[in-house]
């Protein structure tokens, strides 16, 4: 559930970001790309610590958020979404950016000469052309968010019903009831294999 919301967040933020990275040429683009992909190489626990430092009650933004809006992200469901999105975003951005680079930018030029604004050209021409890339990125992103453990437990904790995710439940169950852990693990395994099997066809044909 939180994985789905996190994927939606990634799509809304990641697709425009990928477009900027693929099409626009601005100073510091390398830095932005490095920042986007850093969660890939960062141990998720470190990501969680980083999120705490930024969005924690005493964090860089968290303190301000708490003071102005009374919003506190750590140890809430929204916090889980944020942690999952943070870790899963690179999968989407890299996939979509690749698709965008593969798509011929001249189609956008052709659309412009026909009177299409940048947004219309993106919505009606570019997006359909890169749809396979967006779909693949979205599914990867969702799968990563579903399996997210380290950043979630560090940033959002493990409260059943509030911030407990499947991997967290598996970890907890393993300590108390090994059979339940196996069942949960199997469910995760089946879901993952199903998704990857569905995706492979997409990759092969696309």
């Amino acid at each position: 559930m939180t994985a789905t919301i996190a994927t939606a967040v990634c799509l809304v933020l990641g697709v425009p970001l990928a477009w900027v990275l693929a099409r626009a040429d601005f100073p510091g683009r390398r830095l932005v790309r490095a920042l986007v992909t850093v969660p890939l190489v960062l141990p998720p626990v470190v990501g969680g610590v980083a999120l705490l430092l930024v969005f924690g009650r005493r964090g860089l933004l968290g303190g301000w958020l708490d003071a102005t809006f009374g919003v506190s992200l750590p140890f809430t469901t929204a916090g889980v979404v944020l942690a999952e999105a943070f870790v899963a975003m690179p999968f989407l951005v890299i996939s979509v950016e690749g698709a965008l680079r593969g798509a011929d930018a001249r189609y956008e030029e052709a659309a412009a000469t026909l009177g299409a604004s940048k947004w219309t050209a993106f919505r009606r021409i570019t997006l359909p052309l890169i749809a396979p890339g967006v779909l693949a990125g979205g599914v990867l992103c969702w799968a990563r968010a579903l399996g997210e453990f380290g950043a979630t437990i560090t940033f959002a904790g493990n409260f059943p019903g509030r911030t407990q995710t499947m991997p967290l439940a598996v970890y907890l169950a393993l300590e108390q009831d090994a059979d339940a852990a196996i069942v949960l693990s199997l469910i995760l395994l089946v879901v993952s294999v199903t998704i990857l099997a569905a995706l492979r066809d997409k990759w092969v044909t696309a």
């Binding site: 189609y107 026909l114 052309l129």
Partner: protein, 344 residues
């Protein structure tokens, strides 16, 4: 719907600097060798490449600061760039849809355009199911359906095979005649330019070297490129009455009397070759060495080196008779009546 434009685009070390105009209903061809800057000029007009200097005025309104989508300039790209995920009909309807024509009506307009280019029964096909000639016509219909004030065509026939090209050229000519706005067409094929355009603008290395109608340009080329294009031998020299002296002093006797700097041109078919010095008229006769022999239509095109480089057309029979092969020494002569001189 007239165009008046001055374009300067710098792309180190290349500089494009040309002035262009086209009246309503007029077809102007930009003709030039590859890399002359023709496509850059087209992209600059459409707003896809920025101008460093200059202006583009359409119907008295400056559009060079407008983004491409607000210029009302249609483009038929060299490889058409039909949107691969849309049917032919939706490709053509895209322009009207962008002008907020309701979907139904846009599709009706698109259907009318497709039937006008003779593709009514292919409306539902995707671009990859269309042949090259059909795709070209869809691209033309798509550009025209957006109701542009100026239509730009980039090598519209270059991607087609020779046979399709002939048919498509005739159809394109017909559709351009029915278009009320100005048209600028870019090509490196002189035949396309001569067949489709009312006026030719020859571009070399980013500059205009000659403009005029087809008859003037084919009769009086002003650069080597144009001369080769229309198949003439071209030289520049100083005329003194009926004789033109080329820079190294070589005299050519001409039919007309001119004075001062002139171009001299004569067709390769006017050059006669002899094994030994010909008798009679001694004028315009010189010794030359064959540097290459190539087939040219029914004749053979002989390139000669010597006091002046010259191309000559001979029949295969006389080539055999003269034993023409690279390195062979021959005498060349041109009748003065075939040599035309005109002011530089």
């Amino acid at each position: 719907m007239t165009l008046r434009a001055r374009l300067t685009v710098k792309r180190d070390p290349f500089v494009l600097d040309i002035e262009l105009s086209a009246a309503a209903g007029e077809v102007v061809a930009l003709l030039g060798p590859n890399g002359a800057g023709k496509t850059t000029a087209l992209r600059a007009l459409a707003g896809l490449t920025g101008l460093h200097e200059g202006e583009i005025v359409l119907d008295g309104i400056r559009v060079d600061r407008e983004p491409p989508e607000r210029r009302r300039i249609g483009v038929v790209f060299q490889d058409y760039l039909l949107f691969p995920h849309l049917s032919a009909l939706d490709n053509v309807a895209f322009g009207p849809r962008c002008r907020h024509v309701p979907r139904r009506e846009a599709r009706e307009q698109a259907a009318r355009w497709l039937s006008r280019v003779g593709l009514a029964e292919h409306a539902r096909k995707k671009p990859r199911q269309l042949s090259g000639g059909q795709a070209q016509r869809v691209a033309l219909a798509r550009a025209l359906a957006a109701e542009p004030k100026l239509l730009l065509l980039d090598e519209p026939l270059a991607a087609l095979d020779a046979r399709t090209r002939l048919d498509t050229r005739a159809q394109l000519r017909h559709h351009l005649a029915g278009f009320g706005g100005a048209t600028v067409l870019v090509t490196h094929d002189p035949l396309d330019a001569l067949m489709l355009a009312d006026r030719l603008v020859i571009v070399e290395e980013g500059r205009i070297v000659q403009t005029g109608d087809a008859a003037t340009i084919t009769a009086q080329p002003r650069t080597d490129y144009v001369a080769r294009l229309v198949g003439l031998n071209l030289y520049r020299g100083r005329a003194e009455g009926g004789t033109v002296f080329l820079p190294d002093g070589f005299p050519l006797v001409t039919a007309s009397a001119e004075h001062g700097e002139v171009f001299v041109a004569f067709p390769p078919s006017a050059v006669a070759l002899y094994a030994s010095r010909p008798d009679g008229s001694p004028r315009n006769t010189w010794q030359a060495t064959v540097s290459s022999v190539a087939r040219h239509g029914d004749a053979l095109r002989i390139e000669l080196a010597g006091e002046i480089p010259v191309a000559a057309d001979v029949t295969p029979a006389s080539a055999v008779h003269l034993d023409l092969a690279p390195g062979r020494q021959v005498w060349a002569s041109v009748k003065a009546t075939e040599v035309r001189a005109y002011r530089a």
